[in-house]
C-alpha cells in the first residue's frame, strides 16, 4: 500500500476483500463476546497488525454487548477493504432517543443485571468511537440502532 490511507466513505465502488455476517441474540449474555472473538481470529489470520486488531476487537465487543443488553437481535457485518476494516452493527430493538446524551461517558440506561456483567456504565459507545477512525450512528426509537465504524489498517502483505 502506498500513500496516505484514503477515507472509507460510502463508496459503491469500494472493493471488499473479505466479508462475513454474524448474528447476535438479545439477552444472550452467556455467548456475549464470541462474535468479537471470531472476528479477531479472522483478522489475525488475514495478517492485520496487532494494534488494529485490538482496536477493532474492543469496538466489536462493546457493540456486541450493546446488542445483547438493549436489543432483541442484531447483526455484525464485517468487511475487509483495502484501507482497513469496516464494521456495521445493526439491531432491531428499542433504539436511542437522544444520541448526543448516549454518546457521553457515564450516560446509561442499563439495569443492575447488565452492570453485574461488567457493562452498562455508559462507556460503550464512546469506547467504540475512541477506537475507530470513522464512526457513525443512526437510531430510530422503537425500531433499532445502526453503528458503522472503520479502523484504518493495511494488511501486512501489502505494507
Amino acid at each position: 500500500m502506498t500513500g496516505p490511507t484514503p477515507p472509507l466513505a460510502d463508496g459503491a465502488a469500494e472493493e471488499v476483500l473479505y466479508s462475513e455476517s454474524f448474528r447476535i441474540v438479545g439477552n444472550d449474555f452467556e455467548h456475549g463476546g464470541e462474535v468479537a472473538a471470531r472476528v479477531k481470529a479472522i483478522l489475525k489470520q488475514l495478517g492485520f497488525p496487532g494494534d488494529a486488531i485490538r482496536r477493532v476487537s474492543i469496538a466489536n465487543f462493546e457493540a456486541e454487548m450493546n446488542v445483547i443488553m438493549y436489543a432483541e437481535e442484531g447483526t455484525l457485518d464485517l468487511a475487509v477493504v483495502p484501507g482497513g476494516v469496516r464494521v456495521t452493527v445493526a439491531d432491531r430493538g428499542q433504539g436511542i432517543p437522544d444520541i448526543d446524551w448516549a454518546m457521553q461517558e457515564g450516560h446509561s440506561t442499563a439495569t443492575p443485571e447488565m452492570r453485574a456483567r461488567g457493562f452498562g456504565a455508559g462507556l460503550g459507545l464512546p469506547n467504540i468511537k475512541r477506537n475507530s477512525d470513522e464512526f457513525a450512528i443512526t437510531s430510530t426509537v422503537g425500531t433499532g440502532t445502526t453503528l458503522r465504524y472503520v479502523v484504518y489498517a493495511g494488511l501486512s502483505a501489502e505494507n
Binding site: F29, E30, G32, G33, E34, A36, A37, K40, G50, R54, S57, I58, F61, E62, M65, R117, G118, F119, A121, L123, G124, P126, N127, R130
Partner: protein, 116 residues
C-alpha cells in the same frame, strides 16, 4: 515481574494455563467494570477483578491482558474457565480483597496500566 512471583506474593491458586506463569507482567489494571478495562488498560496488563463471568475472559482476550487475578477468593464460572484454557490465559485466585491485592502489587513495584 513474572506472573509466578505474583502467585507467590498473593498466595494465589492457579486455576488454569499454568504453562504461561513465566510471562512478564509489566503493569496492572483493577476493575469490575469491563468497559473500563477495554477503554483504559494498556496491553499485557494483569487484570485484577471480582467479576467471574465469561465476559471477564473475553475482555482479557480482547484487551490483551497477560492474566486475570480474581480477588476475594472468587472462582470463575465454568464457561469462563474453559474459555481461558482455550485462549491460554492464566486465571489466578487470591483470598485477598481487591484493595489488599492492589496494595501488595503496588508496593511490589508494579505500575498502573492506565492509558494517559
Amino acid at each position: 515481574m513474572q506472573l509466578r512471583s505474583i502467585v507467590e506474593l498473593l498466595g494465589c491458586e492457579v486455576l488454569c494455563s499454568r504453562e504461561a506463569l513465566g510471562v512478564d507482567v509489566p503493569s496492572c489494571f483493577a476493575a469490575d467494570l469491563m468497559s473500563d478495562v477495554l477503554a483504559f488498560a494498556t496491553p499485557n496488563a494483569l487484570l485484577v477483578t471480582g467479576l467471574t463471568s465469561v465476559q471477564a475472559v473475553h475482555t482479557a482476550d480482547v484487551a490483551e491482558c497477560a492474566a486475570i487475578l480474581f480477588v476475594g477468593a472468587k472462582r470463575p464460572s465454568r464457561e469462563a474457565l474453559e474459555l481461558a484454557e482455550r485462549r491460554a490465559i492464566p486465571l489466578l485466585s487470591t483470598s485477598h480483597s481487591m484493595f489488599e491485592a492492589c496494595g501488595v502489587l503496588r508496593a511490589a513495584g508494579i505500575p498502573p496500566a492506565r492509558k494517559a
